[in-house]
């Protein structure tokens, strides 16, 4: 699989993702400038965490206007796989590729720790190597991870099984404990926890690697 990582000015998890994909998942991986306009060569696009453009104005707001995001919209429509992590999730909601938005944490401090998550839906291309309701552990590190959407959208997310991960012991006030969601079509994932930080035992856990391995699990029947 060809992975591409969009590096925005201010991204700081781009190289972490690169090492995770290249050294741990053993797949080909390329860094992409946020000025890039053509992403056709890639099977999977990763939008990394960090503080794109300093997150001035609003987290992810300026990032969503980069040229590469226009290209992401195009290939997303074609069904290519898109994953936004942390700031990447914020960019995806700002780009309207995923519903809802990420607000300042309920306790308005930055929060960085290992977080338990429940696998709510293991029938996605992102989670098919987990068991349903499995408790997995990944680091979170964000100041604005409080997921919010209106009630109608929330109902839709629930009934379409778009919620992939829920927090155990909700750390930031997200509605319905939402930690990660897909779009309706199931090819775009946005999540606040950092799977790329959980890919080696020495770093404290490998549940993140399982997420990336799910992408390679071509035998799985993806049910929405």
């Amino acid at each position: 699989m060809n992975f591409g990582i969009i590096s925005f000015p201010g991204s700081n998890c781009d190289w972490d993702l690169y090492y995770a994909i290249k050294d741990e998942l053993n797949e080909s991986c390329k860094m992409i400038s946020s000025d890039e306009t053509n992403l056709d060569e890639f099977d999977v696009i990763l939008i990394p965490g960090g503080f794109s453009y300093g997150d001035y104005l609003r987290s992810g707001a300026i990032g969503s206007l980069a040229s590469a995001m226009q290209a992401v919209k195009k290939i997303a429509k074609e069904g290519k796989i898109i994953i936004g992590i942390c700031n990447g999730f914020q960019i995806l909601t700002e780009s309207n590729l995923l519903p809802g938005s990420l607000m300042v944490n309920e306790q308005p401090e930055f929060i960085s720790k290992w977080q338990n998550l429940k696998v709510e839906n293991n029938q996605t291309i992102f989670s098919n190597k987990f068991k349903k309701n499995q408790i997995v552990k990944m680091p979170i590190a964000h100041g604005e991870g409080n997921y919010y959407c209106d009630e109608e959208t929330l109902k839709e997310l629930e009934s379409n099984h778009q919620i992939v991960f829920r927090y155990e012991d909700n750390p930031n006030g997200s509605v319905n404990d939402i930690a990660g969601i897909t779009n309706k079509e199931g090819n775009i994932l946005g999540m606040m926890p950092h799977p790329e930080r959980a890919v080696e035992t020495i770093l404290g856990g490998i549940d993140g690697l399982t997420l990336f391995q799910s992408l390679k699990n071509t035998n799985s029947e993806v049910i929405k």
């Binding site: 965490g49 300093g54 997150d55 960085s112 890919v199 770093l203």
Partner: protein, 739 residues
């Protein structure tokens, strides 16, 4: 025409003695005008001298003392004197590290003061050519019963988080201590560690006729004008007038600078002659220090310096401490290569001057020369001062009257665990991104933080340490202990100490007692560094830590780095499960002077500092190193503040274990702070092998279990009670006080 020059002529400066307001003394002015220039300096020139000759830039008061540091050792590639020191870690790699204080700014404006402290030390690291890989923060505040101190703690932590998290350098550790002597004068010391290939080392140097001086980064504004001079003077509670002296940070800009400068160092190393950050005393210190290294001349056209505000004077431009600015010296003809890289990162970069061979420091503005002085006079001709040393009364006739009784050791321990200096700092470090860069193996909350070196089996252990109560009771021995305890942290994590940096936070050096404390603790630090082969490779001095003539406790903060050759030897402080055998390493005496139990019971630090034997310390450390290397241990924890009772709780709390055992110590000795001790837990299968190495140095005191009860038989009583309540006191101590 330049307004200030109109306002104050050289004669005005002399007759009105304006230099005194800038922090220069009469003698210093006389040296400048009579010996160095043979004429009266103009306003810009005297301003430059005041910045460059401040303690913060020149170390004029501390230099004679700092010379006493032991700075040798086989790993040293770069000792003190550059932006940061460099150590060889093998395989053609090197590490760079340094610590810096931002105490005064953090009191005036705690968020920005702390944030820009982080930004400043990061620039020191990448200007050496290294990628910053971790940072730590050593903080000290007055008591939390005071609302102002709560505010300062909250804002300082938010500032560190705001800057460090954004720039993507993990904040992996540090320490926080509370003591009333820091009321009105908190300490914010930041340490940063970088990694590089030895071939990539750069120096802050401007040399080579006609080479270009390139300015890059944020525009220069009126923030922090002559802040170096501000940091080198005493504080008054009425500090509002100083507000304009604090700078504002932009971590996004700094992230771009780090990436761009490292790219230049990688791709255009031959074109880059030297690079330095614009820290204290901004443009003048960076340019003058770079030029003075080779006694070069330098000519800068101030009209070309990017400016944020209109009508800035030469004095303001040169002494502004606007953040996120770097100065480069680039080979003549190669400038475009460098400018192109910066352009790619959307950074403003401008050629502002040239190097020449006449050894003069020359500035022009509006086609007029506004400064023309010998380069070296700014950097090398600073007079140094030695001060009278007076041993404080408390050390000559120590008050040894402190005594106490322990009725119920469980209750005492429970109270001690909730003391702010001892209790868990989780609520603080949870605000720091400690795992970005995905190399962090052990983050805050264990004895030392551990960061692995990607692509190798190696890892680095890092810690900051200082017990100011000990230094207060005995500056020499307190200095020794600061290093010894930092080393114990490194050893307990599986590493071998390879070097230190420091922040020497002291009171006004004109006070002979403060100077005595400085001199003695430097000796103590240096002696232990030499014994354990951990040279001093850099550091920072922060004197004048006084508010309204009330001095802080002497606080020589030690930042230490250790090397772990094989990451399978990384070890943490928590016992991993039940049925582990727990050993106490090292002897315990009745050592309560400067202890947390003394502080808790009488809120006063008195007495003669406890006995400390550096050879015993090294012996114990070597034994612990040996059993870790042989993979005989499950956990290792060093004993520090609070003694055995606190260490045992910390060993058990993470995995919520219980303990049953017996030790030949009194109830009081449970709280003794005798140095050179460790707690170790091992798998019982390793007992004979472990004991064969340790012999008499390890005392088996019990076994972990899963019944959540601490049960320790003492010679005159028993420590008995619920483990979960101890954990709760320890976990909630600080958060309760912050409410």
């Amino acid at each position: 025409m330049i307004e200030e020059k109109m306002k104050y002529s050289p004669e005005d400066i002399k007759t009105k003695k304006l230099y005194l307001d800038m922090g220069l003394t009469q003698e210093e002015y006389d040296i400048i005008s009579k010996k160095l220039l043979n004429r009266l300096p103009n306003y810009t020139e005297i301003g430059l001298y005041s910045g460059m000759w401040s303690e913060h830039c020149s170390y004029k008061n501390s230099k004679p003392v700092l010379k006493k540091f032991w700075t040798d050792g086989s790993r040293v590639i770069q000792g003190p004197g550059e932006g940061a020191g460099v150590l060889d870690i093998g395989d053609d790699q090197a590490i760079v590290f340094k610590a810096e204080s931002h105490n005064h700014p953090s009191f005036v404006e705690p968020y920005e003061g702390a944030a820009t402290g982080v930004g400043g030390i990061i620039r020191d690291i990448f200007s050496m050519g290294a990628k910053p890989i971790a940072s730590l923060d050593s903080l000290r505040f007055g008591s939390l019963t005071n609302t102002k101190n709560k505010y300062l703690l909250n804002k300082v932590v938010a500032g560190i988080a705001g800057y460090g998290n954004c720039i993507g350098i993990p904040t992996v550790g540090g320490e926080i201590e509370f003591d009333d002597s820091y009321n009105g004068n908190p300490l914010v010391n930041v340490m940063c560690i970088g990694l590089m290939n030895q071939a990539d080392i750069k120096q802050g140097k401007a040399t080579g006729n006609n080479n270009s001086i390139i300015y890059v980064g944020a525009k220069t504004g009126r923030d922090g004008i002559n802040g170096a001079s501000f940091a080198s003077s005493q504080f008054s509670e009425n500090e509002d007038n100083d507000r304009s002296a604090v700078q504002v940070g932009d971590p996004f800009m700094e992230k771009l600078l780090v990436d761009a400068c490292l790219e230049i160092n990688r791709d255009f190393s031959d074109d880059l002659v030297g690079i330095q950050d614009m820290g204290a005393a901004g443009l003048v210190s960076s340019s003058a220090e770079m030029a003075a290294k080779d006694n070069s001349g330098i000519k800068i056209n101030l009209d070309l310096v990017p400016q944020r505000e209109l009508g800035m004077s030469p004095y303001e431009i040169m002494l502004s401490e606007s953040q996120e600015r770097m100065l480069l010296c680039v080979k003549d003809g190669a400038e475009q290569n460098i400018l192109d890289v910066f352009k790619k990162y959307n950074l403003e970069a401008v050629i502002i001057g040239k190097v020449n061979e006449n050894s003069q420091y020359c500035l022009t503005m509006n086609d007029q020369v506004v400064c023309d002085i010998p380069t070296r006079s700014l950097v090398d001709d600073v007079p140094t001062y030695t001060h009278e040393l007076v041993k404080p009364e408390r050390l000559i006739n120590p008050d040894t009257s402190f005594d106490f009784e322990v009725e119920n050791p469980y209750e005492t321990l429970n109270n001690l665990l909730s003391q702010p200096t001892i209790s868990s700092k989780k609520s603080v470090y949870q605000q720091y991104d400690s795992r970005v860069q995905t190399n962090t193996v052990v983050d805050s909350g264990s004895d030392a933080a551990v960061v692995r070196i990607r692509g190798t089996k190696k890892a680095l252990a890092m810690t900051t340490d200082c017990n100011s109560n000990y230094v207060y009771l005995d500056p020499y021995q307190g200095g020794q202990i600061a290093v010894a305890e930092a080393a114990r942290n490194i050893i307990a994590s599986g590493g071998t100490p390879i070097g230190i940096t420091n922040c020497l936070n002291f009171g006004n050096p004109d006070n002979s007692e403060s100077y005595f404390e400085l001199e003695e603790s430097v000796k103590g630090i240096s002696d232990v560094c030499q014994k354990i082969d951990a040279p001093v490779i850099g550091g920072n001095v922060s004197l004048y830590n006084e508010t309204d003539d009330h001095s802080i406790k002497p606080t020589p903060m030690i930042g230490m780095v250790g090397l772990i050759e094989d990451n399978k030897n990384i070890i943490t402080q928590d016992a991993k499960g039940s049925d582990e055998l727990v050993y106490l390493i090292g002897d315990t005496f009745d050592d309560y002077s400067g202890s947390e139990i003394q502080k808790m019971l009488v809120n006063k630090i008195t007495g003669e500092l406890n006995h400390f034997d550096v050879n015993q310390e090294i012996n114990n450390q070597e034994l612990v190193k040996d059993v870790i290397k042989k993979s005989l241990v499950k956990s290792v924890h060093d004993l520090s503040e609070g003694g055995l009772g606190v260490a045992l709780t910390e060993l058990l709390q993470k995995n919520e274990l219980g303990f049953k055992g017996q030790v030949d110590l009194t109830k009081k000795q449970l709280f003794s702070e005798t140095q050179s001790r460790f707690l170790i837990s091992i798998d019982s299968a390793k007992q004979s092998e472990f004991e064969a190495i340790m012999k008499n140095s390890a005392n088996l005191i019990g076994k972990t279990n899963d019944i959540e009860l601490v049960d320790l038989e003492l010679s005159d009583g028993k420590l008995l009670g619920n483990m979960m309540d101890l954990k709760k006191s320890w976990e909630e101590g600080l958060t309760c006080l912050m409410k």
